[in-house]
Assembly symmetry: C2
Homo-oligomer: 236 residues x 2
């Protein structure tokens, strides 16, 4: 399988390009608008045809490239069934499987960071199992739960009851990392995530309710822009 | 195989941890001193025993963690046979193979960025072929050739006559990337590296001799420090 992880240093966002091989149909997960030219270059140089662009959720910390990629490549844009972004071509349901030229991604509804967050579980031949967790489960961390319908109890349940049941060897590819780590595994997060390892649901809720984080710098711009697939022409 | 790529945002350096599986012996390539605690955390949480730390060459843009890792873990430190760093435990020769618990790395002398740069070619069971290229071959770029015995002709020869013969499917893991790309392949660099694709040796030398780059900010500190494995206590 062809797999490319790309990093946007400004928002510390990871974006993923997947295809069965060079020269084939491809999908992209969580693209960032300011990196659009990088994605188009990678797609062109790998001789790929981008057919699907997915956002795991309505991001508050960067503007999505979904609309830009749709306009440039004609790809289908996808988000989960509970997102309010009416611009996307398709809303996937929990447990629905997307199939792109042999690459299968199973949509898993994993609310908590937001009330409309999905993860995507990769089932591809001859490839280690992997899950793209958006902001729900990060490497040795978890996504904040204090806005956009976030809920620490739902976050705990999504992580421990859905993601942790995918198998210890499953690789974890999040939408962000702020310390230079590129990948983890379910085993690592189960054993070593400081917010989760040996923590009860109540203890996790207590941690998350006391993070006292400032709002993301771009939040007031990014959320409305992302509900329009990043293609709002002017924002008051 | 267990494979971890870590990123130091300050110097845009990629560091690699390799082991046959969690719980086993491991090696690390091109570690950065300021990230020492991150490496020790990853090694501990993956239940690894670090036995080998390698620098591909004497870096000029960051200080190595070789000495720090040796002091903390007792690992063997390795560089190529032409480096002047007398602090390392072992100097590998061209074509020599290092073997760590089933993970085999073949040392390839690839001068050009410096006159003592090595690449390391990964031969591991059930794993795509990969080469760790240091600063000789970057993703859509190449390492500068204007100091530390750098030579654009030797850089061209190392890349085209040694690295490009490893096979198109071989993954390329460099020591740096400045635009958020994490991996490439020999095929991609052969076809799409703007300094190399359809460029003669003379044209490449012309490009490299006219980059007019400023010296790395840390160069006057990093080079002498790295010749002492990063463990110089005070620098005048």
């Amino acid at each position: 399988m062809l797999f490319r992880q790309l990093f946007d240093a400004e928002s510390s966002t990871y974006t993923y390009i997947l295809a069965s091989a060079p020269g084939r149909e491809a999908l992209i997960i969580d693209p960032v608008k300011s990196q659009l030219d990088q994605y188009l270059r990678a797609i062109r140089e790998l001789d790929l045809q981008l057919v699907t662009a997915i956002d795991t959720h309505t991001h508050a910390d960067h503007i999505t490239a979904l609309g830009g990629l749709r306009d440039e490549t004609g790809c289908v844009t996808i988000m989960g069934e509970y997102t309010q972004a009416e611009c996307v071509s398709r809303h996937v349901r929990d447990e629905e499987t997307l199939s792109i030229d042999g690459v299968k991604l199973k949509a898993l509804y994993t609310p908590g960071h937001t009330d409309e967050s999905f993860s995507f579980y990769l089932e591809a031949p001859d490839t280690p199992r992997a899950v793209f967790t958006g902001d729900v489960l990060l490497i040795r961390g978890t996504g904040r739960t204090d806005f956009q319908g976030g809920d620490p109890g739902k976050s705990y349940d999504s992580i421990t009851q859905r993601l942790f049941t995918l198998g210890d060897d499953t690789l974890v590819y999040p939408a962000h990392d702020y310390k230079g780590w590129t990948v983890s595994s379910i085993r690592e997060e189960r054993l070593h995530n400081p917010r989760l390892a040996n923590k009860s649901r109540d203890a996790y809720i207590e941690i998350m309710n006391n993070l006292n984080l400032p709002n993301p710098k771009q939040m007031d711009i990014a959320v409305p822009a992302n509900l329009a697939c990043g293609q709002v022409r002017s924002i008051a």
